[in-house]
């Protein structure tokens, strides 16, 4: 019960024989060893598994791996260019927008799409935009500031 799928993963074309019953999250973590996206709940409630699929931020735990066929998938590992960090990654560090780091990859992917769609969001738009990513450590304030910082400086 496998399917042969072809898709783009972090700008690289891949061909993969995937178990039909596993989620996209399981596929990228176990078959591709890209463990940046995390399983926080497995039910689409926490956002820790957020990746970008055809330009949209989605919960990888709510997509079957086989549904990646023909799609462009970007994970946190695809954001930095070599050791050159993405402006959001730099800003998160500069603005102390992370603590334990577990929600961070998902949060950054959501923030990236948010800024791609709306380069100059208001604070309220940011607050709403990342409301699908739970964080228990930071209280969100510095995350919002970090995203604002990138919007203001790019």
């Amino acid at each position: 019960m496998k399917s042969l799928i072809k898709f783009t993963l972090n700008d690289e074309p891949v061909e993969h024989l995937v178990d039909n019953h596993i989620t996209l999250l399981q596929m990228i973590r176990e078959d591709f060893d890209l463990t940046g996206a995390k399983e926080g709940c497995g039910a689409g409630e926490c956002g820790a598994c957020t990746i970008i699929m055809d330009g949209k931020a989605v919960n990888a735990c709510l997509v079957l791996g086989v549904e990646a066929d023909g799609c462009e998938i970007t994970t946190i590992e695809g954001l930095a260019q070599g050791s050159e960090l993405h402006p959001l990654q730099v800003s998160f560090i500069e603005n102390a927008a992370l603590q334990c780091g577990y929600c961070t990859p998902g949060m950054i992917m959501t923030a990236k799409v948010l800024l791609d769609e709306n380069p100059h969001p208001t604070v309220d738009e940011i607050k709403e935009g990342i409301s699908g990513n739970l964080c228990r450590c930071t209280g969100y304030k510095k995350i919002i500031e970090a995203i604002q910082f990138v919007a203001d400086n790019n």
Binding site: M1, A43, G44, G47, A57, N59, V63, L64, G129, S131
Partner: protein, 275 residues
Amino acid sequence: MNRFDYFAPKSLKEAVDYLHEKGDNTLILNGGTDLIVRIRDCHIHPDFVMDIKKIKGLDQITFDNGRVMIGAAVTLNKLGLHEKIQKEYPFLAQAALSIGSKQVRHRATCIGNICNASPLADTATPLLALNASVHIYSRNGEKVVPLKDFFVFVRKTVLEFGDIVTGISFEEQEVLGIFNKVSRRKEVDLSTVCSTVMKINDEYRISFGAVAPRPIRLFETEILLKGKTISGDLIKEACQLAGEEVKPIDDLRATAEYRREMVRVILKNALNEWL
């Protein structure tokens, strides 16, 4: 998760043929945001999963011949952010955007929300108020079922095995509508009570979710208000009646009494807009 076969048909005929070939332990995959969780939680164990997203034409919102048609694969974000829907039916857009998180709404569909038939389906109340109809394709051809007849009970619809919902449509109409959602938390929460109150000329259409086994219209209250001038006293009377017309239950999220009170508050505030 149990193992299953996966198939993505390219046409409705191919889809229906596959269903009948594989039998009734075949589930239809659309947005997947509900289905995949239920498979993970071992509430369902399909042998076959059929993905309808590759069928052409299901992901469109069209305005044709005086009818608005929302295709089965239209995501909640696509519906909620659609310019014309936002302009002419803002309450429908708001309802769509009130569900889940942004990430969920990029996958979840309006049709999926309807077909799950949860008593608190947020897109149900605006569509019920708009007198929408569900389009169903099967071996026997196409049929159209009014949404108010589509819901049978909690998580139960008139759909039979072999049916594929292709979309939901409603007549283009000039309306004023207010969507409301009472929930514990502002974002990413199930409705404690949800509602659409619509005014079309001198007629009112009042729909509530999470106050009965299915999303419902409050027909008695609508009759009370029809054709009358809105006054403070009429609003009081209508709210009283509405509170009696609904049949909420106690559950984890709220008590029946609180839900009844929210019905009264929501209706009062909506009608006050048009006072």
